[in-house]
């Protein structure tokens, strides 16, 4: 059962907040291997996390 991009987008985000079940993780990985758009979205979301953490570090420096 393959994922749509809409489903993949939700799972990319959820993966930042909880450990995804093994089957979802596998389906997401397969999707990301073939979908440039979702790979870019994942990078953007991971960047957001770094940016927010950096914002705090920056303040604390």
């Amino acid at each position: 059962m393959t994922l749509t991009c809409k489903e993949a987008a939700r799972m990319i985000s959820e993966g930042l907040d909880r450990e995804l079940p093994a089957d979802e993780k596998l389906r997401l990985r397969a999707h990301l291997l073939v979908c440039r758009g979702c790979s870019a979205l994942r990078e953007r979301m991971e960047f957001l996390r770094r940016a927010l953490r950096r914002n705090t570090d920056r303040d604390e420096a």
Partner: protein, 186 residues
């Protein structure tokens, strides 16, 4: 810092930073003033608790985080935050075709981390954060700014874990779009 006067002065110097930190999380200036005031009071009254073990700012931020979470807890008891404060996420439906594929797929940002050394970037980021619906912003900032675990956020905000993930997803979708339009897409 054994001199009490020096300790007080060092604590007071951190006030602008604490205000900025609390504003990112709470938005409401009155609530910000309250939590910062409580934090300063707790710090000044409990000087012995500091003991120079850590950086003063880190120690104060630790106290402030607790005060912020207390405020959020109190507020979510006092006012049932209504639906319009979290949006319904329908604006993201337009990004996808009916079959669930991207209408226009997101492009990779070039060297995004170089933005992290630019003050202007963080101003844009803060503007983007302000555009989020209130509840969505609060959940997102608890997660990414305060660094809380989802379980704690759900409890404080009285939402189910599933709904918490939905709100976090909406926040990230909105923010990446906003940054794309206002920073990376330039």
């Amino acid at each position: 810092m054994s001199d009490p006067a020096e300790f007080r002065s060092e604590v007071e110097k951190q006030r602008p930073y604490l205000v900025r930190y609390a504003t990112l999380q709470l938005r409401d200036p009155d609530a910000v003033q309250d939590v910062v005031q409580e934090t300063l009071l707790a710090a000044l009254a409990g000087e012995s608790g500091f003991g120079g073990r850590s950086n003063l700012r880190t120690w104060l931020t630790g106290i402030l985080k607790h005060k912020i979470v207390d405020t959020i807890r109190r507020q979510s008891r006092e006012v049932a935050i209504s639906g319009d404060m979290e949006g319904d996420g329908s604006e993201f439906d337009a990004l996808f075709e009916a079959n669930g594929h991207w209408r226009e797929h997101p492009a990779a940002w070039t060297d995004p981390d170089s933005a992290l050394s630019q003050r202007q970037f963080f101003q844009v980021l803060e503007e983007c954060l302000k555009k989020l619906p209130m509840k969505t912003a609060r959940v997102f900032m608890m997660r990414e700014h305060l660094g809380s675990e989802t379980a704690e956020i759900c409890k404080e905000m009285s939402v189910t874990p599933t709904h918490c993930w939905v709100l976090l997803h909406r926040a990230r979708m909105a923010l990446q779009l906003c940054l794309d339009r206002n920073w990376f897409g330039k």
